[in-house]
Amino acid sequence: MSNKIKQEMTKIEIPKELSSRSLMGVNQAKGKFLFFIFLFILIPFSFYVYANIYDNYISWNNGYSTILAILIYLIVFIPLMAYVSEKLAKFSLKLGLDKRKNFIIFIAILITIPIIVTINDYREKDLDDVISFNSKDFEQLILGNAWTTDKKEHADELIDFLSQYRIKKMKDDEWNGDVSKEKGFSIDIYLKDKSLGASIYENRVWVYRSGKAYHVVNGPIDIDWIEKKVQEEFDELQW
């Protein structure tokens, strides 16, 4: 009987696509792995971008809108990231990312990008790099909540003065909230579609939009020059 059953079962025709279906199963497993890798990367990344957009561009944010924004993120963005991860996983398989060597290169790139971004973030740079703007979009400059001008030349002159100073990002816990012992001023620049703002002290700078704080490397900043300049302009009634 055993032979009969074996003989009979051997008669079951094998479809042509059998091997390709086996391969699909393996690719499916590899794709799943890549899917989770992409999801693992995309969820924190998308949350970071989403939170930044919400903080910086949504003017009406308050307690309720924050809860709403979180709900929208959970209901809309997480499924969206899952969908994007699946597409990326399939695309990656087409690119041959399932091969060990290619995958190692891919992971190396993924690790390198945030390292480069972090190094760039902490490198020494000109002060005007963090509060630069396009002159064409300039509308208004406010210094110390008191001095206001809509003359582009004033803004350009101020930025030009600040550009001589070099700054370096400091860690959040390095920032000391007590600024009473330092001279300083706040600067707000209103452009057509956005605004820039910073608190500038002799030895440190706080940029509002990014929430980042910087040491002044070649400080102290000559705050007297600013005050003197403002006073001159004020005397001439041009400010």
Binding site: E8, M9, P15, S22, L23, A29
Partner: protein, 173 residues
């Protein structure tokens, strides 16, 4: 073969595919008996490849690759049937009066259609493993994770059903 298994466990896709393709026809034919059509049988093969590739690192003894793979294939087939609500259950009390010796050598003119039509999923598993894969009862009990006696009981019942059917009796469940 054990070398291939070790390579596959290290993530070597080519090694895994070489191994899997040694058994894919067997898996397809087994699946066909359970699911009764080509399309679902191919789905079972794909799912078996997926699950086995995903979990091959957990296989402790490379020499048991075949039995391990067959078990996955059977589970995939049963899962598909469960999804389609096509699993049939045993008659209670059918296990009574099982003889010690099981006569397996009766030359029945059994057809694939008989296996498909007259046996339930559990009986198909045992018949396929015993006659198609030529497993011992010990291997069957290990593969299906059932006691040795139960494996014999199920086989006896399956053969009885086939015999009765071929004689014109009807023991369909």
């Amino acid at each position: 073969m054990q070398e291939l298994v070790k390579k596959a466990q290290k993530g070597n896709v080519e090694a895994f595919l070489t191994l899997f393709q040694m058994y894919e026809e067997d898996i397809y034919r087994m699946a066909f008996i359970y699911v009764k059509n080509q399309s679902d049988a191919l789905d079972v093969v794909q799912e078996t490849a997926y699950r086995s590739f995903k979990t091959i690192k957990k296989l402790k003894e490379p020499k048991y690759f075949k039995t391990w793979l067959i078990r996955i294939a059977i589970n995939c087939s049963l899962d598909l049937l469960k999804k389609q609500c096509k699993i049939t259950h045993l008659h209670p009390g059918f296990e009574e009066n099982i003889p010690e010796e099981i006569i397996e050598d009766i030359d029945l003119e059994v057809a694939v259609q008989d296996l498909i039509e007259y046996l339930n999923a559990e009986e198909k598993s045992v018949v396929i493993l015993r006659f198609f894969e030529e497993f011992t009862f010990k291997e069957i009990s290990e593969t299906l994770e059932i006691p040795l006696g139960t494996a014999k009981t199920i086989l006896y019942r399956a053969l009885a059903k086939l015999r009765n059917n071929l004689r014109g009796g009807d023991v369909r469940e």
